[in-house]
Subunit: 333 residues, 2 copies
């Protein structure tokens, strides 16, 4: 568990896009960030207060979160100085970078000297169990995609936010680096050992109140041959009561696989639902979340209306329309 | 790659069953074993020549293979003496034990002093790539099961053996500890990091002659919620041209999951084949392999005839009937 609130370290991010993790934290957990720390030449700006380490500590920040990708996969000297100062000042550090904080001897030494924690959220910190398949109490929702990177995390975040706004019991359950940094906890599923994948999701989504919903962050796609095994482990470990079909309609092929076409929403439904019923015979497909960022307003509305008619399910773009109609569908179950 | 031939270490195995790995090596690669080494009180006997380390070295053995499970998960002092003597005498060591040879300081020291290798085949020794899904040349066959431990490895071994006996080009591709020790090479799939599962199978079954068959060792089951993700990674990484359905008809529930029932062979076919076609649209279900060890001869014959009629596919028990009819089916593709 990463301690909140955070100071978001943007470093020397060349542009806004490089600060994706920090943007996610600001958008989904604004209460978790006291401000941003930018180095000379930083091209990103979250619109948060610029703070020094001292100012952020005084404002209550407990963890400096690396909210930006590093250039060339190296933690530069410019970063190092700030990170070590932060440890000396009592911050923990958290990062989802490929190169780990724990592999940097000077960071390890500074953390030990100050009794601070280095959180490399890309690496599991728990010995997860093998899944036992026992039915758990509480409700679970999982988005499954026609492809990778079609908006599954955003959909789950938006549904969780909407449920909490309505006073419903709801938790977003992170399974990737960004989600873990946003919420401070979760399972870095892509780094879990094969035999423990489904068990890690059982661990992540334990027994809960009968009217509590876990919104489990989806990963990969049953139709993406590089990651489909991860997706099936999520479906079987998660025991979802409801599936949301997630889609991006302008893709020309599966992400990174030019020889592979995206499946139709019908084929996704007919593939994912029977597999989900193995773990939870009561599972249903509750709605459709479409990422229409590459369509204009009219085209988006037309596309969603067509999908809704064709599939007989509520179809929304959570960015344009919010997740209210998906939450309505879950509330009606 | 583990160097052959082997001396098979049976230690103080309480009974025959404890020597499962050694039995697999003897049965499937008799040419790989020069003999067996048993300690006082050993209850297993493979019917191979009993040899001392010295005799086995003189007979050409290059690796001492731990072919037995250890009691209580501890490498005992009695074993240690033999293992260290073996290293001093020029043997490599190979083991599929949960506790690793490399975690034993005295074994590491003896291996280093003698320039020998400790093979812990339960742990990946390769940084596998992420799967790219590119179509590979050559043919691949994969057994998928209604459950775990229904005879998928035995089926693949038997088909490979039959093909080689016929002079066909064929390779067994191990994905588990026993298979790796039997053949000396493979991918310990259950220990691979989630993101690299499918890629490890692409690595294991590279481009080959158009008329060469890889027989990929199956793992888990699409219907076993603990391991289904591993199975789907095998299907998508393996790009099988042919699936064999594997079944054990007397199971009362899924292995280790008392609340879960086995699927029918029809449901297995209708689930696995569409998923396999994502990676290889030409994939077919070629036959059925049934483990009828708990049926008598008459019951086995009746069951297989019934399945064959019902499914319209050759149905055999490879132990009772050999794998000839499955190989016929592949040869006809």
């Amino acid at each position: 568990m990463v301690k909140t609130p955070y100071l978001l370290f943007l470093g020397d991010a060349p542009d806004h896009l490089a600060a994706k993790v920090a943007i996610g934290i600001r958008d989904w957990r604004p209460e978790n960030s006291v401000g941003q720390l930018r180095l000379d030449g930083c091209g990103a700006d979250l619109g948060l207060a610029d703070m020094s380490l001292e100012q952020a500590r005084a404002a209550g920040a407990r963890t400096l979160v690396v909210g930006v990708a590093n250039r060339g996969g190296v933690i530069s000297d410019a970063w190092k100085g700030v990170l070590i100062d932060a440890l000396n000042m009592g911050f923990d550090l958290a990062s989802g970078l490929h190169n780990l904080l724990r592999d940097e001897a000077d960071l390890v030494a500074a953390a030990e000297a100050n009794g601070r924690v280095l959180h490399d959220v890309r690496v599991p910190s728990v010995q997860y169990p093998i899944a036992n398949g026992v039915k758990r109490t509480g409700k679970r929702c999982l988005a499954v995609g026609t492809d990778c990177s079609v908006g599954k995390m955003y959909t789950a975040m938006a549904m969780d936010q909407e449920m909490r706004a309505r006073g419903m019991k709801s938790t977003f359950r992170a399974t990737g680096q960004t989600g873990i940094l946003v919420t401070g906890d979760g399972v870095p599923l892509d780094a879990v050992i094969a035999d423990f994948m489904a068990g890690s999701i059982e661990y992540l989504t334990p027994d809960n109140d009968p009217d509590h919903w876990d919104h489990i962050e989806g990963q990969g796609s049953l139709f993406h041959v590089s990651y489909s095994g991860v997706t099936l482990a999520l479906i079987h470990g998660g025991q979802p009561d409801a599936l949301i079909l997630a889609h991006e309609p302008t893709r020309e092929h599966m992400r990174g696989l030019p020889e592979y076409q995206q499946p139709s929403l019908e084929l996704l439904r007919d593939t994912a639902l029977p597999l989900a019923k193995v773990a939870n015979p009561a599972c249903v497909v509750a709605g459709i979340s479409v990422n229409t960022q590459h369509l204009d307003d009219d085209a988006s509305a037309r596309y969603l209306a067509e999908v809704e008619e064709r599939m007989g399910l509520p179809a929304i773009d959570p960015v344009r329309n919010g997740a209210g109609r998906l939450v309505d569908a879950l509330a009606d179950l």
